[in-house]
């Protein structure tokens, strides 16, 4: 079976339709987070920001598309699962837990889940 049908190849997903975009998801452990802000600087699409002041300061993920359109509800819009936030975080408080996928022309094929580097020694 072909990886992608002709119809899929030809159709461009609508980015303001959350059905067409399954975005990557960031998981934040607010108990470990000390609000140092390094991940905010490291984030590729700049979707991390702080909300509130003082004790209530909390790391949040912007759920709006950068083009100003839809809010994608449950998912963390526009995360690309690069995990640069995880690498820079000294507290181990943040991590991308799933990768992005789009429908139609940009759907992911022949790919699996996120995995750490493997040695294949055993």
């Amino acid at each position: 079976m072909a990886l992608m049908s002709f119809g899929e190849k030809m159709r461009i997903p609508s980015y303001d339709n959350s059905e067409h975009c399954k975005m990557a998801r960031v998981s934040i452990d607010h108990e470990k987070c000390n609000c140092c802000g390094l991940c905010v600087k490291a984030c590729l699409p700049s979707i991390l920001y702080f909300e509130g002041k003082g004790k209530d300061r909390k790391l949040q993920v912007n759920r709006n598309r950068p083009t100003g359109g839809c809010e994608t509800g449950d998912v963390n819009c526009y995360c690309v699962a690069c995990n640069d936030c995880m690498a820079i975080c000294e507290q181990g408080a943040i991590k991308a837990v799933s990768s992005a996928d789009y429908k139609y022309r940009y759907k992911q094929v022949m790919r699996g889940e996120l995995a750490m580097p493997r040695t294949f020694n055993s």
Binding site: M10, I12, P13, S14, Y15, D16, C21, S27, I28, D29, L38, K41, A42, C43, L44, P45, S46, R65, P66, T67, G68, G69, C70, Y78, V80, A81, C82, N83, D84, M86, A87, I88, E90, G92, A93, K95, A96, V97, S99, Y102, R105, Y106, Q108, M110, R111, G112, E113, L114, A115, M116, P117, T119, N121
Partner: protein, 241 residues
């Protein structure tokens, strides 16, 4: 739920199975937050030397480097990249476009014609850059521009990728941070920058690499998607994951 997910595989591998080269490759992360401290000139020259010895088609070495270390010049480039993004934004951001309902079919047709340039990653980044929400050079004190020799054999962009990867890995091995900045190509046809940088035929801007000392410790192994590998051996085929 979230906590449980965090506990699974968050710890980077601590075993010593990786050799030093693998470690440099696996731990290198893109850096988007640089210290003001300038990189010593000899160090920049040393990492460019790593690029000079990259493999290339027919050993043609279809690359050339321009190093920019003037803060004012880098800021001016960033401003002009953003200006180009502002010009593209009304076409791409159909939700907010002044073109109204025409914008969406226009944007989709352009994406159809330019599947790589308007892949959803740059597509989303262009309006965000126009609004200043996403950084371009991230305040790096040094910028390396990789130029392409348009007459290069085969696929000169691939050769430039090899050259640039040598540069970023050598830089990482010296404790420097790097970030590929493909958006400099928006200045490729810009006559002001072509003149200011002295870029003439056969060269054209291909890629940019931001270089500097990182803030914090951005290096480390992270999880990435597994790509399925087709494996032919002994007359059989298997897919490895």
């Amino acid at each position: 739920m979230e906590k449980k997910e965090l506990e699974q595989g968050t710890e980077p591998s601590v075993d010593d199975d990786w050799n030093p080269v693998e470690r440099v490759i696996l731990e290198r992360r893109s850096v988007r937050y640089y210290r003001d401290r300038q990189v010593p000139e000899n160090l920049v020259r040393r990492i460019l030397e790593a690029g000079r010895f990259a493999p290339s088609a027919g050993n043609y070495q279809a690359w050339r480097c321009i190093v920019i270390r003037d803060r004012g010049m880098i800021d001016a480039m960033e401003k002009d990249v953003r200006m180009m993004c502002r010009m593209l934004k009304p076409v791409l951001a159909w939700e907010t476009s002044p073109l109204g309902p025409v914008a969406k079919p226009v944007a989709k047709t352009l994406t159809w014609l330019l599947p790589n340039k308007l892949h959803h990653e740059p597509y989303g980044a262009i309006p965000a850059m126009a609004d200043g929400k996403v950084g371009v050079f991230h305040g790096a004190p040094t910028l390396i521009l990789l130029l392409k020799d348009k007459r290069g054999p085969g696929k000169p962009e691939v050769d430039i990728g090899c050259c640039g990867e040598n540069i970023v890995l050598a830089a990482h091995s010296h404790g420097l941070g790097t970030c590929w900045v493909g958006f400099v190509e928006l200045l490729r046809q810009n006559p002001i920058w072509k003149k200011r940088l002295g870029i003439e035929y056969p060269y054209e801007i291909c890629e940019g690499i931001a270089l500097g000392y990182p803030v914090g410790k951005p290096d480390g192994m992270v999880p990435r998607e597994i790509h399925h590998v087709k494996w032919f051996e002994n007359g059989t085929m298997k897919v490895l994951t």
